[in-house]
């Protein structure tokens, strides 16, 4: 590598200065917005965009997924809501939010009474250990939620 020969020509002080600059550049990159992780506040604003002013009530929704998945790149989950799924009383949508992902939105599922059962399974990406939220919007306008904490040892968003 040509870098090594260049370094030999530098004094010890120059090397230390260069290393310092490198660290500054690196920390500057880490602060750049596109590298930032989502925070629970980002998830809150997304949640507000999805469900409006409704206040989510704990319960009715169940989010089943491994507490410590093998790999964050593909984490299996099943979300279901206790509902008769009739014309008068059914689940309209389920939203999945991952608070610690670069973008907190995972998926929105829109049901109809023809769904028969408010349940769906899939696989999501998780970048780091975090809380995953499931929000269920009912046909009467109420919103139910559940939160599940997941520990991720191998992140799943590449890079």
């Amino acid at each position: 590598m040509s870098d090594t020969t260049d370094l030999k020509a530098l004094s010890r002080r120059q090397v230390i200065l260069a290393a310092g600059c490198g660290a500054l550049v690196a920390s500057g990159l880490a602060l750049a917005p596109r590298a930032a992780r989502a925070t629970p506040a980002d998830a809150d604003s997304l949640q507000a965009a999805l469900i409006g002013d409704a206040k989510p009530i704990d319960g009715k929704v169940s989010l089943r997924m491994p507490k410590v998945p093998d790999n964050g790149a593909s984490v299996p989950f099943t979300v279901s809501v206790d509902s008769p799924m009739t014309e008068e009383d059914h689940v309209k949508s389920i939203h999945i939010l991952a608070e610690g992902n670069p973008a907190p939105a995972v998926a929105s599922y829109h049901f109809t009474p023809a769904s028969g059962r408010a349940e769906v399974s899939g696989r999501m990406r998780l970048a780091q250990s975090q809380n995953v939220r499931a929000l269920a919007m009912m046909s009467d306008g109420s919103v139910y939620q559940t939160v599940q904490n997941v520990t991720v040892t191998i992140g799943g968003c590449g890079g």
Partner: protein
């Protein structure tokens, strides 16, 4: 447009009113738009952003997907079998392509 990587499992027959499970997968990178290639350029986002299931022409289950959905998306969901007919599924790609498949179901 058809896609070789689509796999679906839809029961061929059902009793009227029975709730059936449908399993689907499609081969797709679901590129998040967060990754960089070896020379440091960001790889542009390209995911399947929408899935639509219709039952005899009526939309019964629609989903919006974001980059948080894993590659080669698998999904299982339910439908109430009310009449014989066609269950059609469509995956909408960021690049505008729509991949479709359909299955016949006999309801007795």
């Amino acid at each position: 447009m058809s896609n070789d990587t689509i796999k679906t499992r839809v029961p061929a027959t059902a009793r009227k009113g029975e709730v059936i499970e449908i399993k689907t997968t499609i081969g797709h990178d679901m590129e998040t738009g967060q990754r960089q290639n070896a020379s440091g350029q960001t790889i542009p986002r390209r995911i399947i952003n929408k899935f639509v299931c219709t039952y005899n022409g009526k939309e019964v289950f629609v989903t919006d997907w974001y980059p948080g959905i894993a590659a080669n998306p698998y999904m299982a969901f339910f439908l109430r079998a009310e009449e014989s007919g066609t269950i059609e599924m469509a995956w909408h790609d960021d690049d505008g392509s729509v991949y479709t498949t359909s299955s016949e179901i006999t309801v007795s």
